[in-house]
């Protein structure tokens, strides 16, 4: 019996923009690492070793689950492979030209804006979480300390990603203006 090779990777922290994540997943697919399932709010990605595939991934965020949005994507040939708390990951197998879910600057800019508001929303919740926890946390206990470190790391990661998203949008706005 052939042994099934599995791999789990954490979200690529150094390249956190949606385009980066899509490209990262597509490159792994091209090497035969087929995405089986993201988990933990799409922070962990699980892969199974198989055949190389040409797959286009699309990473998106919507503030609420929206049937009309999903209908348009499935009508245009996309398969929903993951949904959790607003995060959508779509995939499409293709032969010729790499398909795009966002074919103009405006929709790319608004996707980044949705992600920015998602991250800043989480920031707003962060102090509240800390205050709520501070009553229960005993910082001499190793697990509590580990948890505090983990939360702070997530906070920093969120801040870094938000900055990157702002920069990406500034760049997109500039190209849009030059073309208009």
């Amino acid at each position: 019996m052939k042994k099934v090779k599995l791999m789990t990777k954490f979200w690529p922290i150094n390249k956190p923009l949606p385009d980066d994540i899509e490209k990262w997943l597509e490159d792994l697919e091209a090497k035969g690492w087929n995405l089986s399932k993201p988990s933990l709010g799409a922070f962990l990605f699980h892969f199974v070793k198989g055949e190389p595939r040409r797959i286009r991934y699309c990473y998106d965020y919507q503030s609420k689950r929206d049937r009309e949005y999903e209908r348009i994507f499935t009508d245009l040939g996309w398969t929903l492979i993951y949904y959790s708390c607003g995060t959508y990951i779509w995939s499409m197998e293709y032969d010729g030209e790499r398909p795009e879910a966002f074919s103009d600057y405006d929709s790319l800019i608004s996707r980044n804006k949705r992600l920015i508001s998602m991250f800043t929303g989480s920031f707003a919740a962060f102090p509240a979480i800390l205050i709520a926890l501070s009553n229960n946390l005993d910082f001499r206990a190793p697990m509590s300390l580990l948890f505090a470190v983990f939360l702070s790391a997530m906070y920093l990661f969120g801040a870094y990603t938000t900055t990157k998203l702002y920069q990406a949008n500034k760049h997109l706005e500039l190209i849009k203006r030059q073309k208009g």
């Binding site: 699309c58 348009i72 009508d75 245009l76 879910a101 074919s103 103009d104 608004s110």
Partner: protein, 107 residues
Amino acid sequence: MNIEIAIKAYLPMSETMYYILLSLTEERHGYGIMQHVERLTEGRIKLGAGTIYNSLSKLEKDRLIKAVAEDERRKIYVITGTGRTVLGAEIKRLKELYENGKEHEGV
């Protein structure tokens, strides 16, 4: 949205917005719009799913289009009076561009 404000906000129009509004002079759903635009432009413009959804939401919010029916849980849209006025203003602008360009053809 007030017509003057809408014209100011939408003109000059992106190709995406222009072709979506043009498609909605007849009742269509998202997928129908994509097919129609691909036909009109002979395959040059392939509207992405996210772009169509994004544009329809914006146009509906600004009342340039409205949802008129649902077919197998697909929303069907059509252009409104405001939408026609804004589209008309853009066509006028494009005509001016075209006429002026024509004079300089071959230069």
